[in-house]
């Protein structure tokens, strides 16, 4: 059994395409890129069938990475059911999106560059999910962040793309700072980074005396999760990250990387379980993020931005589930979300591709005839995310909301309301795209098979994915709740979803004038939401601007230019120069002058000797 082979294949693909991509033809690049991920996928399937039923984790020690004092960190990979689920999502959805990307990126510059980054991303993501200790996880964590940066800034010649890439990277740095502090605290507290060892150490710790340190660790780790998984207050980078190519948005910023935070919290659940404060923080932040992002999504006009806010919102749901202790429900939503959100983005990509790069909903419309496959598959995805009964999103959202219903009814009601909002804005985008009359100037056409095939597969998965019960799969790790099944929350949230769809239908298909009336009526509220509650502006005014001023005038102009450059470096030079200029006057070239100096010197020596009373013998 060699677990390291799983991430190794994409790494190989990255090396081939990264080093020789320019000399290879496009089909060859696609072969290596898609082939490496396909190999990983097949290998994962073989491995999991061999390891079945995997009730206990299977760990593999590849080599000792750090051995320093008490701290021993190995490059250890481990597979348990949680990892198995993530492996299937990452390699499966990754394979579909790689296939899709061969069609989508066909006419783009930097074809090989794109796929080498894409494969590198797969490598790091697989390292992340396979990691057996926090440090290896951190390697994957930072690696996917790097790939996200590279791919968001893929169109690096455009200012907005490189700005968005910088924003994504810097905002993630803030979260990762917390994450790193959390890791340090783990090392100090447990003297190990291995998940298994930490778990056994925690279980034997008296909770009362260690609640403080565990809360600190979990909150710091969660700070990392808010960065990577786009939660309040660090969610601002994700909508801007849509500047990257659409397959990137689908794979990295919807299906896999952004769920890394959810995965990490579930992976360290044994820590969170010991801190009620941290759990509440996770739940509340998740819930508020879900509501906030959903309301912003209502007013966005860029199709990818609508789905980006929807991703933020759905990630909020996942954290809500985690915070309520329903880890398996959160992971369930990770899986179904990976299906339908990847499909939403790929569908949006198909629309954008068919319209020659148009992303504005106001310039779409009536596309259901010219793009039938995209229309149907995107429809299924929209229904799934709305929690339409018996589609995948219905089951996972229900699992989370049921947990909320049991623990905190107020959270349930807000969550259910958000489900309605979600249905409304997703269908708003859907109706604006496919219904009515076409409002643009292109000639819409259906996408090639390499793009529609993944759409169809994902549509099937989005439809039936809910029957694959993740809570039962993860039962060995996270025990199932034993309470009686309660269908009330299921009915309430599903009806909110259907209501949202109906309202969207009334507003954007049946009576488009009504939407305009409401928009005008809402006035200031609409402007507020359209401008995303001015969060970016607030951050700019209160954090970015002061930092910039401090850096520019304090650190740069005063400390660097003034003190270090001016006083130390230039000052040292000036001092030597002026002293030298003074001493230079001695070198007059006149022998007589020199002789005078010699005589004066001798006289001084004689005088001093006489003064101190030098004597012969």
């Amino acid at each position: 059994m060699t677990l390291w082979l799983i991430p190794f294949f994409p790494l190989l693909g990255f090396l081939i395409n990264g080093l020789f991509g320019k000399r290879l033809s496009k089909p060859a690049v696609s072969l290596f890129a898609v082939g490496s991920v396909a190999l990983s996928f097949i290998y994962v399937l073989i491995l999991l069938s061999k390891l079945y039923p995997l009730t206990t984790p299977y760990t593999e020690h590849d080599f000792t990475w750090i051995h320093s004092g008490f701290l021993q960190v190995g490059f250890d990979l481990t597979v348990d059911r949680l990892t198995a689920l993530m492996l299937m999502i990452v390699t499966g959805v990754g394979l579909l999106i790689h296939t899709y990307a061969t069609g989508y990126m066909q006419h783009e510059e930097g074809y090989a560059r794109f796929f080498s980054y894409f494969n590198l991303f797969m490598f790091f993501m697989l390292v992340l999910v396979l990691a057996s200790n926090l440090l290896v996880l951190f390697v994957g964590w930072e690696g996917v962040g790097l790939c996200s940066y590279l791919l968001v800034g893929f169109y690096y010649k455009e200012k907005f793309a490189s700005d968005a890439a910088n924003k994504a990277f810097i905002v993630n740095r803030i979260g990762d700072f917390g994450f790193l502090l959390g890791i340090f605290l783990v090392v100090m507290t447990f003297r190990t980074l291995d998940f298994g060892q930490i778990a056994s150490a925690v279980s034997s710790m008296p909770v009362e005396t260690n609640a403080g340190i565990l809360t600190a660790i979990t909150l710091l780790l969660f700070a990392g999760a808010t960065g990577k998984s786009a939660q309040i207050p660090l969610y601002v980078w994700l909508p801007d990250a849509m500047a990257g190519p659409t397959p990137v948005s689908a794979l990295i910023h919807a299906a896999t990387m952004v769920t890394a935070g959810v995965y990490m919290v579930a992976r360290t659940a044994f820590l969170y379980n010991h801190s009620t404060i941290a759990m509440s923080v996770v739940a509340v932040i998740g819930l508020f993020t879900a509501v906030l992002a959903a309301t912003i999504g209502v007013a966005q006009n860029d199709i990818k931005r609508v789905f980006a806010y929807s991703t933020v919102s759905q990630l909020g749901y996942m954290f809500l589930g985690l915070g309520l202790g329903a880890y398996s429900a959160g992971m369930f939503h990770v899986m179904t979300h990976a299906f339908f959100k990847a499909l939403l983005f790929l569908g949006a990509g198909s629309v954008i591709h068919g319209l020659g790069g148009e992303q504005d909903l106001r310039h779409m419309g009536g596309l259901r005839k010219s793009m039938p496959i995209t229309f149907v598959t995107l429809g299924i995805a929209s229904l799934a995310i709305s929690g339409f009964p018996f589609l995948s999103g219905f089951y996972s959202k229900d699992a989370i909301l049921s947990a909320a219903y049991e623990h905190a009814p107020w959270m349930f009601w807000i969550g259910a309301l958000t489900a309605g909002l979600t249905a409304f804005y997703v269908f708003r985008a859907f109706f604006l795209t496919f219904f009515g009359t076409y409002r643009g100037h292109h000639h819409p056409h259906e996408s090639p098979l390499s793009m529609t095939f993944p759409l169809i597969v994902l549509a099937i998965l989005s439809a039936i994915g809910g029957f694959f019960s993740v809570p039962h799969l993860l039962a060995p790790l996270f025990p199932l709740s034993t309470g009686p099944e309660n269908i009330t929350p299921m009915i309430i949230s599903a009806s909110f979803g259907i209501l949202g769809i109906l309202i969207a239908y009334v507003f954007y298909v049946a009576n488009p004038a009504l939407a305009e009336t409401v928009r005008v009526r809402a006035g200031g509220l609409y402007t507020l939401v359209l401008n995303k509650y001015y969060v970016d502006e607030i951050y700019a005014a209160f954090i970015v601007r002061p930092l910039e001023v401090l850096s520019r005038y304090g650190l740069w102009k005063a400390v660097d230019v003034g003190l270090i450059d001016g006083a130390v470096v230039d000052g040292g030079g000036r001092l030597v120069r002026s002293v030298g200029g003074l001493l230079r006057q001695l070198q007059s070239g006149s022998i007589r002058n020199y002789a005078t100096w010699v005589m004066a010197g001798s006289l001084i020596v004689i005088f001093v000797l006489g003064l101190v009373g030098g004597s012969v013998r």
Partner: protein, 104 residues
């Protein structure tokens, strides 16, 4: 036969006088040749002091030093005169004030 000896202080006075003359010549004469001769004068003034003390103290050290100084003076004369000749060939002058190009 006993001749009353010349007192040591006379020798030292003479030596100091010669040395002072040498210094003055070195500082105030304009011709390089004269300056050079002034240096020789100073060296010999020192020699005189060495010999006087050597004689007075009945020790051989002073003599040895005097010989050393003479050897150095001879070597110096050889090199110095060669330099002076070269300067005269290149510049056509022996005025010490005009030879001052070694400066910043």
């Amino acid at each position: 036969m006993h001749i009353s000896p010349v007192p040591l202080s006379w020798y030292l006075l003479l030596s100091a006088l010669l040395f002072a003359l040498g210094v003055a010549g070195f500082l105030y004469r304009k011709s390089i040749i004269t300056v050079f001769m002034s240096i020789e004068l100073m060296l010999n003034a020192v020699n005189l002091t060495f010999i006087s003390f050597s004689y007075k103290l009945r020790q051989i050290d002073g003599h040895i030093y005097a010989f050393f100084v003479m050897v150095v003076a001879a070597a110096e004369a050889a090199v110095g005169l060669a330099i002076i000749l070269t300067i005269f060939k290149n510049r056509g002058t022996l005025q010490i004030d005009e030879v001052d190009s070694m400066k910043l």
